[in-house]
């Protein structure tokens, strides 16, 4: 554990170079499922960030105590516990968001972003780097989900964060709030993101 990681790079990579959604295409299930509005995307992103942060902290703290043959089940138990905690807390204190996210909260458990970071980063790096990594990746995930949600909401419902900017009867692209719209919007946003980030950062 002697190699020094540039923490700024470590933080930024999650947002740009290794953005979990647009570059690594991780965690597609919640990405496609809940982003029918900007607010839902944001809520899901924040919930995921919390679980990712907590699981990275715990995994990095106890990494030497877990025999490598059972590391995956151990990680999953840790992640699942935090997800359940998030679910209970949301239901108790933010019932509105809990209703909106519904089935997708338990599905954070199988979000490969979280397991992926635990396996490929937190189990090999120290506590501080893992926290920075989780924050970077989590914020990258939040940005991606919010942008995707906003795009779909603008096109599909003619509103952003529930604020309407077209009249009540206006015809909007309903396709974009339905599942196929998620794929289409994600694909175009990925292209756009890659184009911009390659031009700007290389």
């Amino acid at each position: 554990m002697t190699k020094n990681i540039d923490q700024k790079q470590n933080f930024l990579k999650g947002i740009i170079k290794e953005n979990p959604v647009f570059i690594m295409l991780l965690g597609m299930c919640p990405t496609l499922g809940v982003t029918s509005s900007a607010f839902n995307g944001l809520g899901m992103g924040v919930a995921t960030l919390f679980v990712l942060l907590m699981s990275n902290i715990v995994v990095s703290l106890i990494k030497t105590q877990i025999p490598s043959k059972v590391r995956i089940p151990a990680f999953i138990i840790i992640i699942a516990s935090f997800v359940t905690i998030v679910e209970m807390v949301l239901e108790a204190f933010i019932p509105f968001l809990y209703e909106q996210l519904g089935i997708f909260i338990p599905l954070i458990v199988v979000n490969c972003l979280i397991l992926g970071r635990a396996e490929s980063f937190a189990s090999k790096n120290n506590l501080w780097s893992s926290i920075v990594d989780a924050l970077g990746m989590g914020i990258g995930f939040i940005i991606a989900l919010t942008v995707l949600g906003a795009t779909r909401e603008i096109l599909g419902s003619g509103s952003i964060f529930e604020m309407k900017f077209v009249s009540e009867d206006a015809n909007t692209f309903i396709l974009f709030i339905l599942p196929p719209g998620a794929f289409i919007a994600l694909a175009y946003l990925s292209v756009l993101f890659n184009k911009i980030s390659i031009k700007t950062f290389s």
């Binding site: 029918s36 509005s37 839902n40 106890i62 990494k63 030497t64 105590q65 877990i66 025999p67 490598s68 043959k69 059972v70 089940p73 151990a74 138990i77 840790i78 699942a80 516990s81 359940t84 905690i85 209970m88 807390v89 239901e91 108790a92 204190f93 019932p95 519904g102 599909g156 419902s157 009540e168 909007t172 309903i174 709030i177 339905l178």
Partner: protein, 190 residues
């Protein structure tokens, strides 16, 4: 520090410790959130009641009636509202399984003449931006002040008088059905 060897005893022990810690912490959080969870649920019910009923001063939640019905799985809940011990209306929870994505549960408030006071949506899984428009004022306002005995709760496509939501005829149909169910129970248990 070296990684622990993957011996049988190490694997069993480490997994056991992790699961025990996880179990206890979940139990702890569950205890913490139990109260607020029940409170949030109750508050939602009360705010729905306030929305659909005229002014009342009793506690309808404490006096709810449960009616068995063969049309729905759960029993139907009826809340009676009193103001100065006089009957001012009751709220009936109607539901329909014919929504676009399953169950739709609504609370319909009736005044003593059987007119619809207001409707609140309690549970739904409809398509966001389409079926969820049933919560919008534009759709709900056509029900207010109507008496289902003279107002046909079917959508216009099926010969009724309800203006369906554009693109969500199925949702509108289920909504009408749930309202009808609530009305039938209201009449039966007046």
């Amino acid at each position: 520090m070296r990684k622990k060897e993957s011996t049988f005893i190490n694997m069993v022990l480490s997994l056991m410790v992790i699961t025990i810690v996880a179990g206890f912490s979940l139990g702890f959080v569950n205890d913490l959130t139990k109260g607020p969870k029940a409170k949030a649920k109750l508050e939602r019910k009360i705010s729905a009641l306030k929305l659909v009923l005229p002014e009342f001063d009793n506690n309808p939640v404490a006096e709810k009636k449960l009616i068995k019905s063969d049309k729905v799985k759960d029993s139907i809940e009826i809340y009676t509202a009193l103001l100065n011990n006089e009957f001012v209306g009751s709220a009936v929870v109607g539901s329909s399984n014919k929504g676009f994505s399953g169950l739709i549960k609504i609370m319909v408030g009736f005044n003593p003449d059987g007119q619809i006071q207001n409707i609140a949506v309690l549970e739904q899984k409809e398509t966001p931006g389409l079926g969820t428009k049933m919560k919008d004022e534009k759709f709900l306002k056509q029900f207010r002040g109507k008496d289902p005995s003279s107002f046909n709760l079917k959508v216009t496509k099926d010969g009724g008088e309800v203006d369906a939501i554009t693109g969500s005829t199925i949702t509108s149909r289920a909504f009408g059905e749930a309202t009808q169910l609530a009305y039938d129970e209201f009449i039966k248990n007046k």
